[in-house]
């Protein structure tokens, strides 16, 4: 009996050594097995460490916006008045800023309310808004193609973007931070080395991550919600974004929290097509700025902040108004 056992053991060992003899019985050999059963979020792409140097995000020496004048909305935005509603490009799933309430199907959030305030100042009716979802990559195109009048999409005012669009005076001040699971080992930017970092494609966070964490692998996705999906599917280790956005993510998953010190400060502006031969948007910029000024003064800004964001973060309050000195120009 022991001789038999020895024989089988030897035979088995032989089979292990010779893959061919074990092949028909080898349970690990699954010719049809897919390498990754769970897909990455749609249109996600992976960037290996050090393949992109990352551009400097220039947020100093910014050009100021256009100061509101004393004109009426009819005089400033006659085309929009004629149409009867404002076309606003927003993110489709930026929790707390602009998102679709799953229970009611209505769009809600700080930025959605901001759009409604602008509509109120133009039409006297907060419902005169038609929202369109735009990705960060196609916001500029949507403005140029006149698909939308304005884009409110947590867009940081940078010098590079000012070459493409004109911003309102900043309506929100945010800080770039990191978010991961509660028990994460990531506490500083240095800890990102060797990790999979999820960022929104085209965001300032992408540029900052490339520069500050050259040894990190970067997953670029369409929006912050896709980053949460990647985190929950264990495809990403950490998300780098602004605290306003990360708050919306932390609010949806109690296993996550915002970690580390602020990496940078970001000022959000409402984007519009640059006034010129093609776009008659000078009045629109001033109209939008007048609403932002009103919200600062009558407490609406604080009301919205309390409603949506105060539970999850702190704020220095509404950012300073930033207008260019038009008397000195030409």
């Amino acid at each position: 009996m022991s001789a038999h056992k020895t024989f089988f053991a030897v035979a088995a060992a032989g089979c292990l050594a010779l893959a061919s003899c074990a092949a028909p019985l080898d349970e690990t050999q699954q010719p049809w097995a897919l390498p990754d059963a769970v897909p990455l979020p749609p249109q996600a792409s992976i960037e290996q460490p050090g393949t992109h140097p990352g551009a400097q995000v220039l947020t100093t020496g910014l050009q100021g916006s256009l100061r509101p004048d004393g004109r009426t909305p009819e005089e400033r935005v006659p085309r929009i008045m004629e149409r009867g509603y404002l076309l606003v490009g927003v993110d489709q799933s930026q929790n707390l800023l602009s998102f679709r309430n799953p229970a009611t199907g209505e769009l809600e959030g700080f930025e959605v309310e901001l759009a409604r305030e602008i509509a109120t100042d133009i039409f006297g009716d907060p419902s005169k808004v038609d929202f369109r979802f735009v990705d960060s990559s196609d916001s500029v195109f949507a403005l140029e193609a006149k698909q939308v009048d304005i884009v409110i999409r947590a867009m940081t005012i940078t010098r590079e973007r000012q070459d493409q669009v004109t911003f309102s005076t900043p309506y929100f001040s945010a800080q770039t931070r990191m978010l991961s699971f509660n028990e994460t080992e990531i506490h500083t930017v240095e800890d990102l080395a060797g990790k999979m970092v999820c960022v929104t494609d085209g965001s300032t966070a992408l540029q900052r991550t490339r520069r500050l964490a050259p040894e990190a692998t970067i997953m670029k996705v369409r929006g912050a919600a896709d980053c949460l999906v990647a985190l929950q599917q264990n495809q990403a280790d950490v998300i780098v974004s602004d605290d306003a956005i990360l708050s919306g993510i932390a609010a949806q998953d109690p296993y996550t929290r915002i970690v580390g010190d602020p990496i940078a400060t970001e000022l959000y502006g409402i984007a519009m097509a640059t006034p010129g031969a093609k776009h008659d948007t000078d009045g629109l910029v001033r109209q939008v700025n007048s609403t932002i000024e009103r919200m600062r003064e009558d407490g609406t800004w604080w009301k919205l902040y309390e409603q949506w964001l105060s539970k999850y973060q702190d704020t220095p309050g509404p950012p300073e108004l930033a207008y260019r000195d038009e008397d000195n120009e030409e």
Partner: protein, 466 residues
């Protein structure tokens, strides 16, 4: 000249010398030679006798009879074998290949329906989404069953078909998982549900549906190939039968000259048997060819184009709903919607013009499908108009109400037409099978009877010589 002369003389001398030695050797017989003679001497003798016999009239008759019997036997056997193979292949087509293709079609359609329903349910508020949810669950159930059925038709473990099924079977649970996560998040009021649904839909549209489409096309092609292979006339065995008949004719002509009798009863009967066999086989071949040709025109082609049109409609519906959910411009997507509708209309018009439309209530269903498309198109234009004037809620209500009804009507009518085309296809295959049934045994029996008739027919003639 001199060279030839010089060679001639020694050769002559050598010949003489060889002759004398040769006779001496024969007397003393080499053991090998004697072995050869002992082994083959008797058979050689028999062969010589046989040849002598065959040179006589009865000998020739016997030889001819054997040749004809062999020719008839070979032709009959080859035809029987070929018909038998054809019968087996037709059975396989009917019981394995066609059902597999049908399952693949069901798989493709139900996956597409599942995606449409998941998207629609997402766009709806809670109460309305119950119906979509029900349809989604049914579609997933049907897809799982269809995938299993399709896999059961795969005979070779290394085929592309199995690879595709394995891919779908691995990704389908992931898809349903993602849809459930999306749903749960929605119910908990978390907007990340939208991101999960987008991931699920991308998985379905970019990976699962293309695999299902390829699988459907492969299996459909297999049916078409097998069918056209089986409807070709059996030229080689047929020519064997014709050759046997020609032999019979020549033999009778020869017999008439030899025996001065106009007819040999046995040979005439044998000819009759072989003619019956030939007629039978030809009829069976013709029925098969006819069934195949008609089946291709009236069932196989409409089946493929109807199935494609149905999927195109489902994808257009998903696009339309997704555009609303994503608040994208419908006008931008209009080109693809319009071209989808044009393709569907062309398919329906071709269908109505084809003979299959005359069957059952097909024309009515095609008309209903067409008017559903009309109503859908009108709704779609209205949808784009509403969206263009900022009336998003009205647009959504229209998309989930009248548009949904138009699409559902269209889909139901298409399902009926597809199911009818399929039963047509099967009945044509069954026609071929019925025509092939008994051919094998029949031809074999007739051939044996013909051989017996030939033997019986030649017997009295041979006896005349004994």
């Amino acid at each position: 000249m001199t060279a030839v002369g010089s060679l001639d003389t020694p050769q002559d001398q050598q010949d003489h010398w060889l002759d004398s030695v040769g006779t001496a050797k024969q007397r003393g017989r080499h053991p090998a030679v004697s072995l050869i003679q002992e082994s083959f001497g008797q058979p050689l003798q028999t062969a010589r006798t046989t040849l002598n016999f065959l040179a006589t009239s009865p000998g020739l008759m016997t030889m001819m009879t054997i040749l004809i019997a062999v020719a008839i036997g070979a032709a009959g056997w080859s035809m029987a074998e070929s018909s038998n193979q054809r019968q087996v292949a037709l059975q396989e087509l009917l019981n394995t290949t066609e059902p597999m293709s049908n399952s693949a079609h069901n798989l493709y359609t139900s996956l597409s329906v599942a995606d449409t329903m998941a998207t629609t349910g997402f766009a709806q508020s809670h109460e309305e989404s119950e119906d979509s949810r029900q349809r989604y669950s049914e579609a997933i159930q049907k897809a799982a069953i269809s995938a299993t059925e399709t896999a059961a038709g795969v005979s070779d473990l290394s085929t592309r078909e199995l690879g595709l099924i394995a891919q779908i079977q691995q990704q389908l649970p992931v898809y349903t998982g993602l849809v459930e996560v999306a749903r749960t998040n929605n119910h908990a009021g978390r907007p990340v549900g939208a991101a999960y649904l987008a991931e699920a839909s991308a998985l379905m549209r970019d990976q699962i549906l293309p695999a299902a489409k390829e699988l459907f096309e492969l299996t459909r092609q297999a049916v078409t190939n097998q069918q056209s292979e089986l409807t070709k006339p059996q030229w080689i065995p047929l020519s064997g039968l014709v050759a046997a008949l020609i032999f019979l004719g020549i033999a009778q002509h020869w017999l008439r000259i030899r025996t001065h009798r106009r007819f040999n009863k046995g040979f005439v009967v044998a000819t009759m048997f072989m003619l019956i066999a030939l007629l039978w086989v030809s009829t069976s071949n013709w029925v098969n060819w006819h069934a195949g040709t008609k089946g291709f025109a009236e069932a196989s082609t409409p089946l493929s184009s109807l199935a494609n049109a149905r999927i195109i409609a489902q994808q257009a519906r998903t696009e339309e709903t997704l555009a609303l959910v994503r608040r994208q411009d419908l006008v931008g997507g209009n080109n693809s919607f319009n071209s989808a509708m044009r393709r569907i209309e062309t398919t329906l018009n071709d269908y109505s013009a084809s003979p299959i439309a005359a069957h059952n209530n097909n024309r009515t269903h095609a008309d209903q499908a067409r008017s559903a498309v009309e109503s859908w198109k009108t709704n779609h234009e209205e949808l784009a108009r509403l969206q263009g004037t900022g009336k998003y809620d009205d647009a959504l209500a229209l998309a989930l109400g009248p548009s949904d009804k138009a699409f559902t009507d269209f889909d139901a009518n298409m399902a009926t037409l597809i199911s009818d085309a399929r039963s047509n296809l099967r009945s044509y295959i069954i026609d071929g099978l019925v025509a092939t049934r008994l051919v094998s045994g029949g031809v074999l029996t007739l051939s044996w009877l013909a051989i017996i008739a030939v033997v019986l027919g030649i017997r009295p003639r041979l006896q005349e010589y004994l």
